[in-house]
Symmetry: D2
Subunit: 346 residues, 4 copies
């Protein structure tokens, strides 16, 4: 199987190159960029010297089709909206890592993204690529919309509770923290080293584009959730997301053991979700560079609240890793194929 990457010079693209290099079933054949055509990818990323020296090409669906069977889009808003249709028509399978096709309702997209939405037929065709909750449809589609990083961590941590009607659906608060690579590779004042180092920032309070995606996911796979409160923070580190999730328990008879068992049961067939023992919680470094989502759960009798801690590597399970997981499912390979990494620790 031959693959192409559009938007290869971003961080999502870099991790896709890393993963595809060692994938036993797929070969990366071409890389594409809207701005850096003609240079080698290893000039943009010297760590790839001698490993991948492909030359960046233009973004032309016909030319891509000549070189590839499946294409990843790791692109800014608007690109996938405009070209995914052509790529599919050209006979390519498409995995879109951008946000363009995640929201089923174009109007919601336009409201939160402030951008024109993709047309309805494209939105209807796209399958939301959260394998742990949507495995079957992913296996049968040719267009996958890869989830956002925050929604992945949040939905994996919350859905077992909502699906099993254990919490008050109006009480959900998600306090999320992300490494800085989530902001992408373009330099900015916020991500300037001297401003971000030894600093902790909150941003986009109540306004993050991932809010409607989280709410949509909860309603699609869990139950009726009218809204969530969602805050995002920047941590002075390179990779990792932690979502600390709070919800009021419906019952005061629940125990931590029951909750852990529920999560274990829910994810017993999901090789990338690891549930911590009671009393233990994951830290972000424990999934560094891998596709794991590690989860810890606790219940506080005093307050009646459940707290779930969910961590991922934002560029892996939050982007490129999940994209490969989706590729595997879509193409009928082992779900873990090419993803057998152990966290780089320390």
């Amino acid at each position: 199987m031959k693959a192409a990457i559009i938007g290869a010079t971003g961080y999502g693209g870099a991790d896709l190159i890393r993963l595809l290099h060692n994938h036993p079933e797929v070969e990366l054949r071409s890389v594409h960029s809207s701005s850096q055509q003609g240079i080698k990818i290893s000039e943009s990323y010297p760590h790839l010297q001698g490993i991948n020296d492909l030359v960046l090409q233009d973004i032309d669906p016909q030319i891509i089709k000549e070189q590839a069977d499946v294409v990843f889009l790791s692109t800014p808003p608007g690109v996938s909206r405009d070209i995914s249709g052509q790529l599919i028509e050209a006979g390519l399978k498409v995995i879109d890592l951008s946000g363009d096709l995640r929201l089923v309702d174009g109007k919601v997209y336009e409201q939160w993204y402030g951008n024109e939405a993709a047309n309805t037929s494209l939105l209807e065709k796209a399958v939301y690529g959260l394998p742990e909750w949507e495995r079957e449809k992913i296996q049968q589609t040719e267009l996958i919309s890869n989830p956002g990083c925050y929604p992945t961590a949040t939905l994996l941590g919350l859905l077992p509770l909502v699906k099993n009607e254990l919490v008050d659906n109006r009480s959900i608060i998600i306090d999320a923290k992300s490494a800085v690579s989530g902001a992408g590779r373009s330099p900015s004042a916020v991500t300037h080293f001297s401003e971000m180092n030894d600093n902790f920032k909150i941003y986009k309070v109540n306004q993050h584009k991932h809010i409607p995606e989280i709410e949509q996911g909860l309603n699609m796979y869990g139950g009726e959730v009218p809204f969530v409160t969602f805050s995002t923070h920047l941590v002075p580190m390179t990779r990792g997301i932690m979502a600390t999730i709070y919800a009021n328990s419906k019952s005061d008879q629940i125990t931590e053991e029951q909750l852990r068992e529920l999560f274990e049961e829910n994810y017993k067939n999901s090789p990338f979700v690891r549930i911590r023992k009671n009393g233990h919680y994951p830290s972000t470094k424990e999934v560094y560079g891998t596709n794991y989502c590690d989860i810890g759960i606790t219940y506080d009798e005093r307050t009646g609240r459940i707290t779930v801690v969910s961590v991922i590597d934002n560029l892996m399970k939050g982007a490129a890793g999940q994209a490969i997981q989706n590729l595997n499912l879509m193409l009928g390979y082992e779900e873990t194929s090419g993803l057998n990494y152990i966290p780089t620790y320390p």
Copy 2:
């Protein structure tokens, strides 16, 4: 005025030395340690070479009294409980930075600290040193219990809401993040550089000793709050705390402007509290090395929730800086005396 520090080799002690060195009214005359007597403080802290070369002495109330009028305790659990009484009897004014005297109810202390509490008369004598809400009693006491770092950030951010009955008191969730210096100077696996760098950790979920202190403060100065949910995280940085505080608004007619004005009104006579403009939130670096508490407030119509963001330097407003502020009030100096630092930025 002459001052002594007990527990001078910890981080609270180091910042007290920094602040007292430039205090216009007080002179640091002696430093005391239970374990490093006989060496110069500048051997323990080379950054003090040529600035403060006092030799560390034993902890003996009578000898301290011969050298000082006021004494700071920056000590582990149990020390203040055991010697604060003697220090006061010796005629010293005492500012205790430890947790020993913060909880009015000794039984609550024993439950959360797992330690024997101080005797009731000592607990009753101690005034809780949160100047913005307890200025008058502080001015009249000789024994101050300096608040914890998390409670300081949290109470300053929450009390205006609770006091004015704007939120559902059963809905309060505080998601707090601290720099690593809050864990003190003793090396440990958790705070080992290679384990903490590029990592984000959650710890003591629902079990932090500061929970009863926050609840006590809310009830003392605000209103009846049965409980709060409180989570603590470690950020890979040296100084700073952010408390992200969530509560359900009682009214859906409130506006962000009203909330900001309420906070401004509440703290108009509090020189160290700065309220951000609507739509702006502080980051921890913006108070680095200073006694400021910076606060941002927002209200989300969609969810009916208020979010308050409160940041401090955990070693300053969260420890040594607030201790000097209390000293100033207790001794009748300007509240800002010796605290006119500008944040070191970047």
Copy 3:
């Protein structure tokens, strides 16, 4: 005395504002910028909210003269070259933190900076502001060229050796490491957090503009030094420079004690230079936020080489702090006036 800052929005400017705020003899009256006129400095730097809310003004020598007696230039290459003359003619005293006036020989400037040099009369008028080696001229001038950060750390560590003819002047190698704030406030790929965090980089090998400045300083105050080898690295931290300096000892009879005493003697009247005990070396954090230069010295009998370790805060002794030190000398104040900071540690 009234002061103005041109280029107030950069990091040098920010630290000048911090220092002038608490200077007992000088008041900051106006701040100037070529690009952000009309906004408050506290909008560019929220940490200044409520402390300094001056509005940024245009750069006009006549208007500056109406408001100030002394002016600091913290500006990119070319600005000081073009306006320092006018500022002096307008009767202002000038302290230039840029590199424009540091090199006495305009041709050397043009060769290393790739920029047109200032005219000769201006270059001749400017006094190189390294107080420890040029105190008298600084006291008598009205135009000071503030040294670069690397040259400051290097010259203070090397000059006692060269001046006393202790080393082979052809053998000098300086391996310098800088915090990222030395690269300024403009975002770039090199200083993007995700590229710089958990990373260590070398840059401008043998090509740094500070090379001719170091060589000039060695020849002016020390002795004939034909060249030095000088390498610069970026450390993932915000503030601090360490210069590790190597030179072959002329004698194999020298001892570490003698070397230390020589340094102590050389700097006995220099309040900001601290010499470490034999066997001890400073780390950058030990001068954080202050004007100190801390130095450790060793001699290796096995190799016949002397190693000197010199650390400063690049924004303080390497920029704003030294500028204030120069201001004090030029205006006849105490050399340490407004600079009595203790390192913020940890």
Copy 4:
């Protein structure tokens, strides 16, 4: 092939586990520790949960032999000295990552390590495992002494120059910088996060144990080098070493192009050494998590000095990665087997 690790709970052990997990030819069968027997390795390292849940066992050569064919020692000084002989007698192949067997001359070991040396027959049996310069002997031995992290980066960067008699062998200075994981997993004051973060330290000036190892390697594979000057620094990051190497060129006719070509020629059959284009230098992150050694070279006509920049991941090419490379050679596998990692970037 079955493998065991002695000292599995340290950082070298953790990376060996990571690498062996995906090695196509070798299976990790047992892990051993002198202090944590009886617990699962995944309790010491939660990132291994569900990946490797082996229980830590005692260190007993006979029992190890029953489970393994090859054993890695990632142990403190003295362990390998005492048990390597028994392991070999038991018929095991041994790869020792400690410093015990690196120095051929036991007296030199005792002088620099302050420890009793291994007996001479053991020292003579051990082959120094620097594959790029000792490939043949490694292929024929059963006892490999894996090089130190600093010597690996230094020797790979220096040997082409010394071997080809291009530099004055008395002029060599190595300024080395290491990530903090090089100090191991035991908490200490130096590696305490709050002391190390945003800080840069120098340590063991002229006294590091790796000095005699570097000198021995230069003399074994290069030419007569009487001594080197070698300094070590700690960088606030987790992984990576950079050695900045200075030497006086014998000729002033050499060019950068010639130097680069010389290095390329030297390492054309060494899959883990990558030479940068002229004018480019590697940063440590560009080899993160991999077995690469990336090298940049420059010549400065002005000073007649050559500067070589050599970077590795201290836990990989500096420890576990190189150990696997040696294993591959010793057992006749592909040299790159199980080491086909791409740097995790960013």
